[in-house]
């Protein structure tokens, strides 16, 4: 048994660590197995510096054709299982072919790495960054170790940020005017606004504001669109009368939002919408959806 186990077990342990790992911010990342682990957070143009430690299992000798470390930015589309699109791939050779008898440490550095896209874990798509250490071997499979890390990119507040203001209605039935103070929000922002009832001839029961995420993947005929409602926020309880003005104040921080992603590497987009829903006493729903742009703001995060 021991022999057998030994046969499948990699003959060495590989540890990947970042030089500033202790001080660097850690963020949670959901793995394929559903578990959440804390991983280091980077942004584009950062230097990714660290070391790889290879520690052969006691008494084992590891023969190899070379050791390398790769920094990969991958987009994984679930419906196209197994296919990764590497949009970034950087390689550093760590060792020339040889043998390893004992623990060995290899420093590595990727300087000012261009990482234009953010890590993203969606319904149909995943964008991730990994460090991949490969010990190439002859005849037997390579020994590979991965280390995930997360990339988030910050954008400055937009210089133009108009409010969203609109009058909508059903003729002779319901006329409302709503206003959201901005069209672009950072992730910890607050949506401020109001709904003004110009005409109410139907018996409303309540009104809520939904935050919806629309994730579209693929292109052309193979486009997959997935919409999730991330927040349902009740704005009003009961039936208003004409002239009533209902305030909106929705804090975004409790929700797991990402910035808006537009056409990431021609593979996917993630967009956000505010959906104003009015429900009448017969549970009919009247709604109006407006896109908002989400961005990541350095100060607020």
């Amino acid at each position: 048994m021991n022999y057998l186990v030994g046969a499948f077990k990699p003959p060495c342990n590989i540890f990947i660590s970042f030089t500033d790992g202790r001080s660097r911010k850690q963020v949670p990342l959901k793995k394929e197995n559903g578990k959440t682990v804390m991983v280091a957070l980077f942004q584009s143009q950062e230097n990714i510096v660290g070391e790889v430690v290879i520690e052969p299992i006691h008494g084992k000798k590891v023969e190899h054709n070379g050791v390398k470390i790769e920094l990969l930015g991958q987009i994984e589309l679930y419906f196209d299982r197994g296919n990764f699109y590497d949009f970034t791939s950087l390689v550093r050779e760590l060792d020339v072919p040889g043998e390893l008898y004992e623990r060995k440490t290899y420093p590595f550095e990727f300087s000012t790495v261009e990482m234009p896209y953010e890590s993203y874990n969606g319904v149909n798509v995943r964008l991730r960054y990994i460090l991949k250490v490969t010990i190439s071997r002859n005849y037997v499979s390579n020994i590979v170790e991965y280390q995930d890390f997360v990339v988030r990119n910050y954008t400055p507040p937009p210089s133009i940020n108009n409010s969203i203001k609109m009058e909508v209605g059903i003729e002779d039935c319901l006329h409302i005017e709503f206003e959201y103070s901005k069209s672009k929000y950072h992730l910890k922002d607050v949506i401020i606004g109001k709904i003004y009832f110009l005409l109410v001839r139907i018996k409303l029961k309540n009104m809520e504001l939904e935050i919806r995420r629309r994730e579209s993947t693929g292109s052309g005929p193979n486009t997959y669109v997935e919409t999730e409602t991330l927040a349902k926020f009740e704005l009003m309880d009961g039936a208003p009368v004409r002239g009533e003005s209902i305030p909106i104040r929705l804090f975004l921080s409790p929700y797991e939002l990402t910035p808006t992603y537009r056409n990431i590497n021609n593979k996917f987009s993630v967009k956000y919408y505010l959906n104003l829903v009015l429900v009448d006493e017969e549970d009919r729903r009247y709604f109006k959806q407006q896109e908002i742009t989400m961005y990541r703001n350095l100060e607020a995060s």
């Binding site: 309540n206 927040a231 349902k232 926020f233 009740e234 704005l235 009003m236 309880d237 009961g238 039936a239 208003p240 009368v241 009533e244 003005s245 209902i246 305030p247 104040r249 804090f251 921080s253 409790p254």
Partner: protein, 785 residues
Amino acid sequence: MLLIGAEDEEKWLAEGIAGIQHNAFYLHRALDSNNLRDALKYSAQMLSELRTSKLSPQKYYELYMRAFDELRILEMFFKDESKHGVSVVDLYELVQHAGNILPRLYLLCTVGSVYIKSKEAPAKELLQDLVEMCHGVQHPIRGLFLRSYLAQISRDKLLDIGSDYEGDAETVMDAVEFILENFTEMNKLWVRMQLEGPGRVREKREKERSALQELVGKNLHVLSQIEGVDLEIYKETVLPRVLEQVVNCKDDLSQYYLMDCIIQVFPDEYHLQTLEMLLAAFPQVQPTVDIKTVLSPLMDRLSKYAASSADVLTEFLQVEAFTKLSNAIEKVIEMQVDMPAVGAITLYVSLLTFTLRVHPDRLDYVDQVLGACVKKLSSIPKLEDRWATKQLVALLSAPLEKYNDTVTALTLSNYPRVMDHLDNGTNKVMAMVIIESIMKNNTCISTADKVEVLFELIKGLIKDLDGATDELDEEDFKDEQNSVAKLIHMLYNNEPEEMLKIICIVWKHTMAGGPKRLPFTVPSLVFSALRLVRQMQGQEGDIVGEEVPATPKKIFQLLSQMIEALSAVPSPELALRLYLQCAKAANGCDLEYVAYEFFTQVFVLYEEEIANSKAQVTAIHLIIGALQRMNVFNVENRDTLTHKTTGYSARLLKKPDQCRAVYACSHLFWVDGQDGIRDGERVLLCLKRALRIANAAQQMASIARDSSGPLTLFVEILNKYLYYFEKGNKQITAAAIQHLIELINTEMQSDSATSDAFLASTLRYIQFQKQRGGVMGAKFESIKL
């Protein structure tokens, strides 16, 4: 919506309470372990129970109170940052993450109150934010309770802000603005309840709404408690805003309640100074609003306030409170065309009460009020409505009570015009009230004009009114007429001339009273006239010449008219007595022929009208008594009269009556006094005749085996004998007395009657006189017992 059974409602309430308790349990655990996250979670869940639409306001209130208690605990927890480690600023954001609006806003209000207290942010902004955010709840009941919670939880802070803060006017205004805003919104929600749920019964809805009125009114109460709200702020901000809301909401229940609330919660001083503004709102409210029950307490309060001190009173004059109130009422009545008479009258009653208290010296005001009322009533000839009538009586009674002097009421030109609108029955009641007032205050009405007015007022009692067909209660009628009779005695003037006028006026009025009333009123009037006669008699010297209008002669003429009217009723016995009184008075005035005329009338009456034997007996005795006192007649006249009298006496039906009348007649011939007639012979004649009759009576009695009646007659005659004996009538001798005593004794024995007390004491008297000695003793000496 279906009508909800009470049972189901109970069930839902129980479920709600259970839900609250369940979550409260976990909430407490979270609080104990200082777990803010869980505390927020469970409190939000707990508050979700308040999202129900199934409960009536009362039940919802129960549920609300449960949650409220828990929220107080949560508030304590929020206050203590050391427990949860989150700054109040962050907390304020954190609670807003809740997805459901109702729990969110309850929590926001709770944290908000802690936030204000912490003074980490300007109270003004926080309050504005809270009151603004609460807009999210548009459901009437839930919204009302939420805002009520906001009001309640912020109340002490507001009082602080409004009062503490070094009298900073800004902060006071902040608090005021907040409350006004919250009040306005609450009222809107409250009004909206009326429009909710078309299936529900209107009455039920109104009942439910009434149950919630205090939630709305509470805001006004808090406003009134803020020290910083001075007259200026009240006048410039509070009142206009509140009134605007009241007028604009166009809801009768709300208008009624809120107007009442304003009046009740704010000080009188404010009302006085803002009277115009306040009153201007009244004509603008819905026609269905019961203005009278709102306005009346206002006037009531104001009048009480006016009475509190003299300084205040001058303020009333300065602001012309009366004019304003009066105008306002006029306007209200004008606007509310459909207002029932009772409403209008009630308003006038209040105004009148106000006037009487505040301006007791302004009779013109009182008259003005009455005049306005007349104007309002001009379209209705007689009030049919019982309540309206009642109010009208109150209106008319008020001046009487106030002035303690009915004369004042008599000078009010509109007073009788108002009375005209009462139905006959009430008119009488009112007339009674007037009379009672006069009697109670012992008011003397001393001029003919006033008497005229007075009788005009009480004409309901004086004569049958047009169309009066109502069944009269005998007792009531008697009471009424007795009152009128009493009243007549209250009419008095020292000046004979004026007094005569008064009498004439009264007679003019009472004459119309008809046969039922005359017997009550005429005697009073007669005696009143006789009093005048006697008075004039006293001042005889002053009466000079024929020009003087008030001479006894004239009065006697009038008197005989009166009594004649009375005898025509017919009420002969009463007329007879009155004639006799008049005759006596004429005797006093030395008017022989007048007195004779009266006696003539007496005998005519006796002959023609008095047929009843008992009445005859009484009449005869009265005549004898009166005639005996007359000294004005010459011999001839007197003889005629005495002759008539004795004749009638002897012709009475029953023997004993005859006997008694006859011996009484003896007095006609023996008058004590200086120039009295002392015709001893005729006295004796009478007595002897009486004895004969007594004998006859005794014989008749013995045949019938009757009582000892006749014996009494003998004793009575004996007493007469003794009387004249003592008076010195020579015709009455001791022997005759002796004889009579013996006669009685024999009768006693034969009659075997038991000893007679009357006789015994008579004999004892003789004994006493005998033993007394002196002249009298000597006289009696010869009588042997």
